[in-house]
Symmetry: C2
Subunit: 351 residues, 2 copies
C-alpha cells in the first residue's frame, strides 16, 4: 500500500505556516519514494469558530476519521483566553477531536541536540545527554470529567475520573517503549493525595509484572517538577495522567533549549494525529519567522506510524543536516536567520 489519506488541520497562529512546510516536504517525499499522499484540509480552532461558529466542524471530524493520519498545526487565540465567559472556545475543538478519534496516548520524545545545547536555560552538564520519552494519557481525567458552574458564579467543580480501561493501554505502551530503550518507566502521580493516582499506581504495578526486564519507579508530581530540572538524565520513559502530563511535558520541553524542534504524536486504536508541541504562538503569526522543524519532525513521526521508516529516517537526517549547518530560523540563529519557508525549502531540497 502506497496510498495515504492525510488530514491537514493548519489551525491557529503559526499553525498554517509550519504545516505548510510539512505538506511541501511530504509532496517531495511522495515523489522520491513513490508514495501517493492525498491531502484533505479541514478547519479547526479559533479559525473554525470565526468562519463556522464551531471549533471542530463536522466536515473536519469526518475528514480526520477517514484519514490514515492527521497533520495538525496549533490551536489557541488570546482573544478567547481573556474571556472567561466565552461559551465556545478553540480548545474545545482539539479536546473533542482527541476524544472522537480516541487518541488516548500523547507521546513526546525529548532529545537534546549537541549543537543547540547552549540554548538551554539549564547548565550544560545537567542537560547534556538527556533522552526522555513521555506518555501522557489524553482522553480522560479532569479534562473530560463532569464540569459545573452555578449560575451566580458562587462555585464550580471539575471531576477527575479514571477507569481501569483508561489506564491499562497507555501503561502497556510505555512499558513496550521502555523495552526498546533503557528499560525504566517512571509513573508520575500524586498518590499521597488522590484516589485516581492510587489507581494508576496499582495498575502500573500489575502491568509491570508482564515486563520483568523493565524497572518501574513512582514519583510525586511536585517532586517530578523539581527532578526534571535538577537531574533530567534520571528519566527514561515517563507515563502519567492527562493534567500532570500537560504540565510536566511542557516543563520538559523547555529544558533542552529547543522547544521549536519538539514533535508529538497522539495515538489511538484507529487514528493518529501529529503536531508540534510549541502551540499557536500568536505573536509570530504571519511574520515568516516560525520554526517549522517541530512540525516537520512530527511529520517524521507520522511516517514512522505509517510504517514508512525509510522516508522517516531520511527526513530526520535532513533535519539534522539543516540544524548542523545552521539553516534555521531566528530562534536558533539570531545572527543569520532564515525564514520559515526557506528552512522548509532547504529540507525539501536535501531530500
Amino acid at each position: 500500500n502506497n496510498y495515504f489519506k492525510i488530514a491537514v488541520l493548519p489551525g491557529d497562529g503559526i499553525g498554517p505556516e509550519v504545516v505548510n512546510e510539512s505538506v511541501k516536504i511530504l509532496k517531495v517525499i511522495g515523489e522520491v519514494f513513490h508514495y501517493n499522499f492525498q491531502f484533505m484540509y479541514g478547519l479547526m480552532g479559533a479559525e473554525a469558530i470565526y468562519q463556522t461558529g464551531d471549533p471542530l466542524p463536522e466536515s473536519t471530524l469526518k475528514i480526520c476519521k477517514d484519514s490514515d493520519a492527521v497533520l495538525f498545526g496549533a490551536i489557541g487565540d488570546p482573544s478567547f483566553d481573556d474571556n472567561p465567559d466565552a461559551k465556545v472556545r478553540p480548545e474545545q475543538g482539539l479536546l473533542k477531536l482527541r476524544k472522537e478519534l480516541g487518541l488516548f496516548a500523547n507521546i513526546r520524545p525529548l532529545k537534546t541536540y549537541s549543537s543547540l545545547i547552549e540554548k538551554s536555560p539549564l547548565k550544560k552538564d545537567i542537560i547534556e545527554g538527556t533522552d526522555i520519552q513521555i506518555f501522557r494519557e489524553l482522553v480522560s481525567g479532569i479534562y473530560f470529567g463532569e464540569k459545573f458552574t452555578d449560575e451566580e458564579g458562587a462555585y464550580a467543580y471539575d471531576v477527575c475520573k479514571y477507569s481501569r480501561e483508561d489506564i491499562v493501554p497507555i501503561v502497556h505502551m510505555a512499558f513496550q517503549e521502555a523495552q526498546k530503550r533503557k528499560k525504566k518507566v517512571t509513573l508520575i502521580d500524586k498518590a499521597n493525595v488522590l484516589d485516581t493516582s492510587r489507581l494508576w499506581r496499582k495498575i502500573c504495578k500489575e502491568v509491570a509484572e508482564e515486563y520483568p526486564d523493565v524497572q518501574l519507579d513512582f514519583m510525586f508530581v511536585d517532586n517530578a517538577a523539581m527532578q526534571l530540572i535538577l537531574n533530567p538524565k534520571q528519566f527514561d520513559v515517563i507515563v502519567t495522567e492527562n493534567m500532570f502530563g500537560d504540565i510536566i511535558s511542557d516543563e520538559a520541553s523547555v529544558i533542552g533549549g529547543s522547544i521549536g524542534l519538539l514533535p508529538s504524536a497522539s495515538i489511538g486504536n484507529t487514528n493518529a494525529l501529529f503536531e508540534p508541541i510549541h502551540g499557536s504562538y500568536p505573536q509570530a503569526k504571519g511574520k515568516g519567522i516560525a520554526n517549522p522543524i517541530a512540525s516537520i519532525l512530527s511529520t517524521a513521526m507520522m511516517l514512522d506510524h505509517l510504517q514508512l521508516e525509510q522516508a522517516a529516517n531520511k527526513l530526520r537526517e535532513s533535519v539534522e543536516y539543516a540544524i548542523e549547518n545552521k539553516y534555521v530560523t531566528v530562534d536558533l540563529n539570531a545572527d543569520q536567520p532564515y525564514s520559515t519557508s526557506e528552512v522548509g525549502g532547504f529540507i525539501a531540497d536535501y531530500i
Copy 2:
C-alpha cells in the same frame, strides 16, 4: 504581650533535627529580646502513626489550636508511598491539620542568594535577581473534594471544587502583597479547560478592581511551568489553586539552587503554621547533615507573623552572615561542611 505559645511538631525524616535548631534559636531570641516562648510538643505524621495509629492525634490538634503559632518540621515516609492500599497515611495528618486550622494561604517567598547562585541548575543570567512570592490556596480544590474508589478497583475519582469564599481571601492577600512589591499579580490556572479555573479568573478580575495600582496577568499552568525556567524574573506575586500551587511552587523552589534555604508560612484567620519546604528527606535522617536554615527562616516568618519584626530581622541577618561566611551544611559547601547543630549553634551565638 510578650508571652507566646508555640506548638512544635517535629514530624518525620529530618524534621526533628531541623526543628530542634529552630527551637534552640528561639530560646536565645527569647532571652535576648525578653520574650517568653512556651513550647508545646506534638506528634504528627508517620511518627504519630507508629506511636498512636493516628497521623494527627487529638492532643496534637488541641495544642495547635491553642497556639499562637505552629512550628512544623516535615512529613512523609517512603514505607507508605509504595503501598497504594494503606488506609492511614502520614499526609492525612498534614491535610487534616491545614483544614482544621483553616490555613487557607500557603506563602512561599523565593529569593536568590548571590553567594549561592552558582548552585542553581539554571544559568546565572536567567536566575539572578529572581524574587517571587507564591500564594497557594491550601484547604480546598482537588485535595479536599470528594474522593472515591470502587471495591473492585475498576475506577476512581477526585473532585476539584472551589467556592467564591475559598478564592476571595487569598486573592486579596496576593494583591496586598503585590502593593508592597513590584505591583504585579499572576494568576496561574487552566482556564481553557477547567470550570474551577474560569471561576478563579473571574474572581481575580473582580478583586483586581479594588487594587488599581496592581497589574493582573493570567497564565496557563503548562505555560507557567515553562516560563519559570525560561524567564523567572517576569514574576512578582503568583496566586494559584491548591494542586497547581503544589507543582509550581516546588518547581520554583529548585531554580534558585537553594531549596535547603526556603521557608514557608501557612496562614489562616486564627492560626498559622511555619515549615521549611524541603520535606522529610528520609535518606538524610539522623545523619546530622540536614540544612536547618529553611526551618530557621520559617521561624523568622513566624516572628514576623507574631509582629516581632526586630527579632525576625536579627534572625535573617544572622542567617545571611552564616551563609556569607560559609558556615553551612554539606549541600551548600561540600569542601568544609558543618553539621546541622553546628550551623544552628553558630546562628544562635551570633544572636
